[in-house]
Symmetry: C2
Subunit: 305 residues, 2 copies
């Protein structure tokens, strides 16, 4: 197999790896040129500019893409595959995008057409494909935290169902746009899962997830009455929202099963702490590795030669 | 007693009634000149401009104010009274604001200095004062819905405790600033408590309040997969948030006690439906009457002559 460009093209970021025939990384490009910043006719020029910045010898003509580039408001719509679905099977549903001199494929997202709890995802299916092919025995509940945390039930390489919790987006809205912003005062959480305000918020939300909505304003009141510092307020908000996310995500799942946690960096630490606080054991998987492996597996299936 | 100007000065609105010695309304003024739109030195000119617009014969020199005008970032801070507190007792803690030719008093808000669940309110204490003096036997749980819904435990004219749920603010943030805005498309809820999407959202949140965070994104997914209309999406979001508010607010309260609902207009209808869906009987009180009565009672106590 020739080299391939494996692209994770999300709402707010672009990431490209050049992979050789064995899946080894020859080069990498990152930028903030996510879907939300691009009109439809800008995707191809952005991709070409990143490819052009590579040394000619390793410049691929084959490009496999996952994520929001395949949304209706992206480059070209790659219609959702409905769950339950076998992950290797989704690769055959990739759409081909005409682009002179290039062979560009966009992988589909997944949809759950349950009328009482409809849901969609894009990008995570490729991380799950990477997980499922790296370790076919892997199964159970998968936690994929982020702007929109995805909780996925994985079984023998198939997705049985999933749900979304808008945790990162809620954190951003509450910390920047709500009345709580006066107390957070622009400060970010420490990101330390051992910080007391994070742990206290986490414990509160795990013990009474339905009470979350009655706990948020306490962050503002704590600032007014006790002069809570901005970073402590941010940690508490993070703890409350992550706790509510984990409580809802674990739902009725079997308490003795480990949870597969697909995350990187600070998010991995925070969610591992939250899952452990909820009494669960965690099996960590690096999110960047997972999506790269998923894209590589997809490329091998699309271009077996 | 001479005439008095009774002013409810909130975050986003100004409302003034001229009351005679018996509490009857001689005139009324409303505007959008709430605290959030005013620098500290603009409160007095705004008040004077409303007074100047009244016929000279009924222009009061006595002014009693409740609400955010008494916040630190308002006209003049009226320090909080701590709960538990007897409502008639808070009137003696009003602060006097120097203003030539006028006698201006601002009533204090209430604070709950519980370190694990700190909370504050301003304005609702005056509605509660009106309730308590209009009907001394009134007690139990009081629901005061709005931008920030307040749930208050009232007992023999005293506030035992209270909590805040940021329901109206969450609705505004999610409908206008989050990814759900693409599905709501600028449409408001119908406000009809019998509308199916409102009732379905309400039932979902009441049955599983902790699952709220996992239900929000379904509104966006419903738009993508089933083409949900904007007003239906807004009704569902309203139902989910009001249901979560009511579930958290009722908490462990006795199921056979009626809930006093202090609200006006559409909010009164929606929360009455939500409380009834949660199996509670509702005792409705008009919110505008309550604050006016509270201000009148305060005026009589401040200026008994």
């Amino acid at each position: 197999m020739e080299t391939v460009a494996a692209v994770d093209w999300g709402t707010s970021s672009f990431r490209l790896w050049v992979l050789d025939a064995a899946g080894a990384v020859l080069a990498e490009r990152r930028s903030a040129e996510g879907m939300s910043t691009l009109a439809q006719d800008r995707f191809e020029p952005v991709l070409r500019s990143h490819l052009a910045s590579l040394p000619e010898a390793e410049r691929p003509s084959r490009v496999v893409i996952c994520g929001m580039a395949g949304a209706r408001q992206g480059w070209r719509e790659a219609p959702y595959a409905d769950v339950p679905v076998s992950l290797p099977g989704i690769v055959s549903r990739a759409v081909t995008v005409p682009a002179e001199g290039l062979d560009v494929r966009i992988l589909p997202g997944l949809a759950s057409r349950d009328e009482t709890a409809p849901d969609v995802l894009r990008g995570e299916e490729t991380q799950l494909l990477g997980l499922a092919l790296d370790d076919p025995a892997l199964g159970g509940l998968v936690c994929m935290p982020g702007t929109h945390t995805k909780w996925v039930l994985l079984e023998k390489g198939a997705v049985r169902g999933f749900s979304t919790v808008m945790t990162g987006e809620l954190f951003a809205l509450l910390s920047k746009e709500s009345i709580l912003r006066h107390t957070l005062a622009g400060e970010a959480p420490t990101g330390d899962p051992a910080a007391d305000p994070f742990r206290a918020g986490l414990a509160t939300a795990l013990a009474d997830p339905g009470g979350l909505v009655a706990r948020l304003f306490g962050i503002r009141a704590g600032g007014l009455l006790f002069g809570t510092a901005g970073s402590a307020a941010a940690d508490r908000l993070s703890g409350l929202l992550v706790g509510a996310d984990v409580a809802a995500g674990l739902g009725g799942s079997a308490a003795d099963e480990p949870v597969v946690l697909v995350a990187s960096g600070r998010l991995a630490d925070i969610y591992a702490a939250a899952l452990q606080a909820a009494g669960r054991t965690v099996r960590p998987v690096d999110a960047d590795d997972a999506v790269r492996h998923g894209l590589f597996h997809a490329a091998r299936q699309i271009w077996p030669g």
